[in-house]
Symmetry: C2
Subunit: 135 residues, 2 copies
Amino acid sequence: MSTRREFISNTGKAMFAGGLVTLAENGDPRMIENKFIHHVYFWLKNADSKEDRAKLLEGLHKLSAVKTIKNFHIGQPADTNRDVIERGYVFSWFCLFENGTDQASYQVDPIHLKFVEDYSHLWSKVIVYDSVDAK
Amino acid sequence: MSTRREFISNTGKAMFAGGLVTLAENGDPRMIENKFIHHVYFWLKNADSKEDRAKLLEGLHKLSAVKTIKNFHIGQPADTNRDVIERGYVFSWFCLFENGTDQASYQVDPIHLKFVEDYSHLWSKVIVYDSVDAK
């Protein structure tokens, strides 16, 4: 099994080097693979309240203590501005997990539950995009 | 200047270790900082066309050749399913850039322009979220 996996992996790389892109694997070390990406965008109820914004930011920093999170980013809209760009959210919350099991564990982690309890009154809308490798 | 930066950095870490979260910096090595995140979600015109899906996937693999991209992920919706989760898109396209300048360069990169030229007829909707460190 291990040998077969190695074979597939090497084939993928060889094909990429040869100019053909294999869809399963393009052999690029910059590609994030076999991970679970959880990206959340928050809208504030009181969009102009500096206090509410600061509170939610504090909450996200606390939330980052969840152990199953591999990497995270706490973001705000960049200054780019085109029709297709959504800029209405106040914070983006990016989490990289090793797999779906770790993400499921995060959902019920006491730190996450406490975050929802303490800070959810601040937001009016949340959109979540959970994604795994495209096949 | 360098000394001042070190001071701020050490202060941030000390405060975090002491249980206080500083908003500017929480001292966690898992935190992605000073980067530009570009996350795009694509909806297909022909949502049920396997051919169109495969074409767009091929296009995203080609697009990943843009040199200013530091890391990327080509995703599809995970099997998580809650009210707040958006699952209608066919592919997510995550790019991490060193900074906004690299992202701007990507927008006009010939590889990106060719991607739009060759594949944009396939999608019905695109939503882009560009985010930088929340301050």
